[in-house]
Symmetry: D2
Subunit: 292 residues, 4 copies
């Protein structure tokens, strides 16, 4: 397929590479050109989002947040005005459900298709084609996007016919991880004060849950190694807000999301915005009077 790929951060670059390797013709756009050039000669580099999507079958966006996506889509040289009719915009960014709905409407108004397809996985999973893709949208548009999903992930889940439903699943999934981190932090603080080695608890939990996610994050917490950040705390805070916003739209209270929101906000107030979001555990330690 002729693909456009917009947003070459750590995640996007790895995904773009996999699309190239899968044999697609890929035109990329990134705000800073260096990231685009790093992809090598196989890609065409566009000077704007609009130029990138010109004549593509599908355009993939992988950007930091709502404002970035909105600008790339509806901005002056955005893709909405250039995407060929019948083409599909595959939005992989973690965005609000509200923006998911708006993008669907913007594209529909122009005879374009839109699917939300946020992904779970860190950059190393992206590089290894092991992302989990949660997609939602019109059946035909999903069908057209299938080759893209296969090239970037290990499994695709269809959340529904409305694109924003995939965004809802993504923010709820991130909420599940954040909740786990907070729980780990609370137990960790209590057990440190009980004189129990945090690594012992980590071992028990890894075995009990049988989950690599528990093992990996639990280790970071037990080691108190919050740098370098795998996922910056302020981004986790942003995602937590997205979960609360979704809960509000759905009239479905999520009290743990509120609690995690307040803990992450405290962490930011205390200067931890740029370290790994598992540093939410440090908040529990501070509240227990532990040295951090």
């Amino acid at each position: 397929m002729n693909l456009a790929f917009i947003g070459l951060g750590n995640m996007g670059s790895a995904m773009a590479r996999n699309l190239i390797e899968a044999g697609h013709r890929v035109t990329v756009y990134n705000r800073s050109r260096a990231k685009a050039e790093a992809l090598g000669v196989a890609v065409r580099i566009a000077a704007s989002p609009a130029e990138a999507v010109d004549a593509c079958d599908a355009a993939i966006t992988m950007l930091a947040d709502d404002p970035a996506v909105l600008e790339v889509v509806t901005g002056e040289s955005g893709i909405a005005r250039a995407l060929p009719a019948g083409s599909v915009h595959i939005g992989c960014s973690t965005i609000s459900t509200a923006l998911g709905r708006r993008l669907a409407a913007e594209h529909a108004a122009r005879g374009q298709q839109y699917v939300s397809a946020p992904v779970f996985g860190r950059p190393d999973a992206a590089a290894a084609k092991k992302l989990l893709v949660v997609a939602a949208g019109d059946a035909a548009a999903l069908e057209r996007s299938q080759a893209v999903f296969e090239a970037i992930g290990r499994q695709t889940f269809v959340a529904g016919a409305e694109p924003w439903q995939a965004n809802a699943v993504k923010v709820c999934g991130n909420f599940m991880i954040a909740s786990m981190l907070e729980s780990f932090g609370e137990a960790n603080a209590t057990l440190r004060k009980a004189g129990v080695d945090p690594h012992l608890f980590l071992d028990v939990m890894s075995t009990l849950f049988g989950s690599p996610v528990y093992a990996n994050y639990g280790r970071i917490i037990a080691d108190e190694k919050f740098t370098p950040a795998g996922f910056a705390l302020r981004l986790g805070f942003k995602d937590c807000r997205l979960a609360i916003d979704t809960a509000r739209e759905c009239n479905a209270p999520m009290p743990i999301a509120s609690l995690v929101h307040d803990r992450l906000l405290e962490a930011i107030a205390l200067g931890m915005g740029e370290i790994d979001w598992s540093a939410i555990a440090r908040v529990s330690a501070l509240h227990a009077g532990l040295p951090v």
Copy 2:
């Protein structure tokens, strides 16, 4: 070894069977004699806890809660007055850290040894010798208990030299599960209102966390099949209280534990005390105005 085993509920019966199969001579005591007889001819049945521990090398207790354990240990025909000096009491029940300390003191005062060795796992795991044993106590006492641990579990973790430390780990571990259940319930309610199939979310989470615990509990929640109870909600509530009590002793606030406490209390107020504790998810559904 000559073993006494006291408390033949679903967990205890399975553990006692495994000890017999491992070749130990086991004398059992249970309040209702029928459960003891169901273990077959290989066991000796005692008429009281005191009689059961007479001449044993180690006595294992597996009882419902603090009052039951206290009665069996310090009651009129309790084991404290009959356990041979040098013998070890292995407490496998989920009890408070406060009781863990008290038992250690009671036994020490009589020249007896005590280890706390609570276990993770449901009755089927107990039957399959797959429990996780978290043990704490004096090194020599742990050494003596090793054969027991090996006969009942798949792995043993040593939490510290003070018996109550194992109890602290156990209540924190149960808290981790309770927290996960509440998170699942919140996400589930939001996504049901977003029109997303709960089983889709279950699939994504099972894959994302790669955890059988998430898969199993997530299925119960997605299916809304809270009976028969694998673990009754009112028992989960009791364990949640134990976590809060431990947190209080350690001066280490655990806000998710408080939140889960309040949700489970609500569930009990609404008549759900005897169904599976994953029914905490039903509380989130009710709060979102969903039919349950």
Copy 3:
């Protein structure tokens, strides 16, 4: 003074009347003209916000929420383009601190002055000139606004030199009331289940706190008379969001605000959005399994 008054709801109408009675020349604008006509012959009725502020010394706005204020100020026939240089816009609505900052900037860019001056009090207090005015802005602008404050309220508090600071005080004040309502509701539910007459508790609390606010709201809760709504629950929910937004901007977590947010959201999910916001107490009653 020559005054423009925009927004003639229950609050605004009463405030406008008091300004007229105080001898000011008042031109009003309201979306539905009937409310304007109800003020009698003493007022001039404008066809748009822009027309209303033409030649005024000060323009007062009293509107429902951020979007309404934004439209009236920056909309096509908004006041920003018509307010004479040197005039002051006195914003009495309960708006976000973010909008407070934006309005200050919009007006400053046009050589106009802006003060935020939200008020505490219900319509009967407005009618009786008993509002509390919390004002913030440039000292000269506050000085010019003094006659307006005196005509509508019983006391004026100056929150700072930045208009949004008054908005911060207002949302925190409403948060204090919401928190009190939630506390009342929790205690009320527990005591009803304890068989204690809610009116007895109301009497004790009214006497203990010596506060008419406790007496009035406590009575509504004890009587369970949530209609007609003195202040609709969905508006209280909006204000609670404003408090959380302010907390987020300030990096200062407010966990009771989060808790109240979730309770009000539940109330809305259960269909209570239009009854009095003290119906937050009904949520506690429901959680305790009480009939409501």
Copy 4:
């Protein structure tokens, strides 16, 4: 009346003095005799609780907590074995509802009467006979206690026919104050970060609520003057636990009580147990990164 008064802390001494002034014959007992002697020649000093109540018409207890009350009532030289049949024990301490029920049963078994009559007010209110008395128990016993209530307080409220109902009202009342302190602390932290003078907010709130309680506690918080402690934070924490225990007995979740519990526990972990309980506001300040 012939009265026994047991427990001469700051509150008890003031109450005993007022009973003497009202013309009653008072025999006192206090663990440290110096406090008893400080009451002057008008009192008889007993060597034990049992001796104090010998031949009295009513015995008043005003002690620190459940264990102290239990010892004074059921201990070896406790009042239960010495109180004349037909006499009434008036328990003014802030105790658990569970203990309230137990005391009722203990006394009933001996043909004695018991009323719970906890009081609201600080030592200065006690000295000025301005306590609020919340009493519950058998109508005849309340009738007999009337003269005592009149001598110590400005108003008496009858909570019900079961003594523990008065204890329920008392712990809920203290919860209302604690909740107010936490709210004040949250708003205060946010507004400090917004650059608003805390005393300005205090003024607005005092005026808005028209409550001396808000004015007094608000001043302590705005001044950050948490010593000397009017009421030690660790005692406030104890009372918060009592509220949670009552809520648990009644199957009525009180989430703000849980939240306040965790904040006070944090304060204790950080070494604030002995300063005034309004220092709960300091926790919010710390979480916002403010200097304290």
